[in-house]
């Protein structure tokens, strides 16, 4: 074995002298570059195209049919279009920005570049999440801008209800939760295609189908499904909230169907729970993933 040679390069620095930023700062800095990458990518253009298409469909339908009930008040207008449209935007944003966020690091080999740097995996995970959140938020705000533009056309510039702000905050909470869930699923794979496919099928169709099965066949409240929380986004516009449980009976008195609507607390609880659990779960998976 070779003998170690003493050197004049000085002692290895203590851990406090390493001159690295905190992990939180590293996350934010990494997010900035990731966000720049999103802005320059085709996926961002695709997302904006989806938002533009959805906005154009809504604009054209309302403009052509002028439904009286919808245009009766700003609350009914936003309650119908925003509350039903924004969950679709959020699901697509989650799939497009979060679907392969982690899996792509393995498949595209960009992870080898990042993980050779002195950053904790948690900082990388958080940085990528923040970047995806920022890109998704731009999509949500673009959709909001289209609808507000329509609202101003029909009701004037002063008619934007305060409820819209509350609804926007709920939409952001839904986005946080859904994006967390897409990151969790993305952490399960090392291949972008599988990750995006699974996330897309699950979030665009899977949760909806599952919710129908749970309520229709199993007959229980689907409090454990993220999609169940989405109607809460429209609650700020409602004059009265829907009944939590509606039992539909036949003339004979037999139960035909039971409908569930989340309470405010339930909806927010589901979003918060999904956000926390998927953050912990996704990070735990990423911490154990090897770049082999």
């Amino acid at each position: 074995m070779a003998t170690a040679t003493p050197t004049d390069s000085g002692p290895a620095p203590g851990r406090a002298d390493l001159g690295l930023p905190s992990s939180a700062v590293q996350s934010v800095r990494l997010a900035r570059y990731q966000f720049r990458d999103y802005l320059n990518s085709r996926r961002f253009i695709l997302m904006l195209a989806i938002v533009a298409a959805l906005g154009a469909i809504f604009t054209a339908l309302v403009g052509y049919f002028r439904p009286a009930a919808l245009l009766s008040t700003p609350d009914t207008f936003y309650g119908a279009l925003w509350a039903n449209g924004v969950p679709i935007v959020i699901v697509f944003a989650g799939v497009i920005f979060g679907g392969d966020a982690i899996a792509g690091e393995f498949q595209n080999r960009t992870g080898y570049f990042l993980m050779g740097l002195p950053v904790r995996r948690a900082a990388v995970y958080a940085g990528k999440y923040l970047a995806a959140l920022a890109a998704a938020l731009i999509s949500v705000l673009a959709f909001a801008a289209i609808l507000i533009g329509n609202g101003v056309f029909y009701f004037g510039i002063d008619a934007l209800p305060l409820a819209f702000l509350a609804s926007l905050l709920l939409a952001i909470a839904y986005l946080l939760a859904l994006l967390g869930a897409t990151f969790l699923f993305s952490s399960l794979f090392k291949t972008s295609t599988y990750a995006v496919l699974v996330v897309a099928v699950l979030f665009i169709f899977g949760f909806g189908i599952l919710q129908s099965v749970v309520t229709g066949l199993v007959k229980i409240e689907p409090w454990f499904l993220i999609s169940y929380a989405s109607p809460v986004i429209g609650y700020p516009f409602a004059s009265s909230l829907p009944a939590h449980v509606t039992v539909m009976r036949a003339a004979s008195g037999a139960v035909v169907d039971t409908l569930y609507a989340p309470t405010y607390l339930e909806g927010i609880g589901i979003m918060l729970g999904y956000f926390l659990l998927t953050a912990v779960g996704g990070l735990a998976l990423f911490e154990r993933e090897e770049f082999s």
């Binding site: 004049d8 851990r15 590293q26 990458d37 992870g111 080898y112 740097l117």
Partner: protein
């Protein structure tokens, strides 16, 4: 006082039933360049990945500057520049932005950043591409960016996994120049490579592994001495064909020559006792024979000889 160091202790990594690294104990300390050698599948890249926390040991541990990598990767990698398995840079970033990201994550001061980023790009000859998007670059160009990213903070320790991969001959020569320049700046470099002349050219020590086990870790001088004790062979090339008579009567009878093999009409392999003095005397004697000597070189480098014998013994 202690210099930069890299250490593996009883390092073991298994993938299912396959043991890629098997109880590897390796300690490298000080400022030097260590060539990490081994045949394909020997466990070189796996070891470097374990050292940099890209994968995790089944048993044992890795330490950089005495800091356990698994417990504190951030501190352990703080003074390291790492290049493993030709990574990809985010395609929409330019080389300058990619290095800016590295500088940001390492918290380089603005003045140092302004100096180091152009310097690093210049070092890998990518200055004129600094503002073009990486996505369209060739493999070799991307590898140059990866090398620049490993150098941008002027690291004390460099862990390089076949850094010349994907580079053209000029690029390979430039990598050797970079490594030499880093050596002059007192750095610890651990470099895996398949190219033995490259290792001979730039490394002070070599560590050879096969089947995940360390076969030896010695200075290059020690390897040369070990080889030379067994005798040397040199290949001589002549401008015109050498007749059998000349081989038997003139070349074969030169002092120190124990055997002569004919490689082809103009090339001979000569066996002689160990020692550079012997080779020098033989060269002088061959030159005066007026057979048109045009080249004279060791048929295999000492490192190559030891490499092959050790690997064969292991197999």
């Amino acid at each position: 006082m202690s210099g930069p160091s890299l250490e593996t202790r009883d390092l073991t990594k298994t993938f299912g039933r396959f043991t890629a690294v098997d109880g590897l104990n390796l300690r490298i300390e000080g400022t030097k360049c260590v060539g990490f050698l081994g045949p394909n599948g020997a466990g070189k890249t796996t070891t470097l990945k374990l050292l940099t926390d890209l994968i995790f040991p089944t048993r044992g541990e890795c330490l950089i500057d005495g800091i356990p990598v698994r417990k504190d990767r951030k501190s352990a990698l703080a003074r390291c520049g790492v290049l493993i398995e030709s990574p990809e840079v985010y395609p929409s970033l330019t080389p300058y932005q990619a290095l800016e990201m590295v500088a940001d994550l390492r918290d380089l001061a603005p003045a140092e950043r302004r100096r180091r980023i152009p310097e690093s790009l210049e070092e890998v000859k990518m200055t004129e591409w600094a503002d073009k998007k990486v996505g369209k670059f060739s493999k070799g160009m991307k590898q140059r960016i990866n090398i620049a990213a490993a150098l941008v903070h002027d690291p004390q320790i460099l862990i390089l996994d076949e850094p010349a991969t994907g580079l053209d001959p000029r690029g390979m020569a430039e990598v050797r120049d970079i490594v030499r320049s880093l050596k002059r700046r007192d750095r610890l470099i651990l470099m895996s490579s398949h190219i033995l002349p490259e290792v001979t050219d730039v490394c002070d020590e070599v560590a050879l592994i096969n089947r995940g086990r360390l076969l030896f870790h010695e200075t290059l001088d020690a390897v040369t001495a070990r080889f030379n004790s067994a005798g040397a062979t040199v290949d001589a090339t002549f401008a015109r064909p050498v007749s059998d008579g000349d081989v038997d009567r003139r070349v074969g009878t030169l002092p120190g020559v124990s055997r002569v093999e004919r490689l082809d009409g103009r090339r001979l392999r000569l066996h002689l006792p160990p020692g550079l003095e012997q080779e020098a005397s033989l060269l002088k004697a061959l030159a005066v024979l007026d057979l048109g000597l045009v080249s004279f070189q060791e048929s295999k480098s000492a490192l190559e000889e030891v490499y092959l014998s050790q690997i064969e013994r292991g197999d």
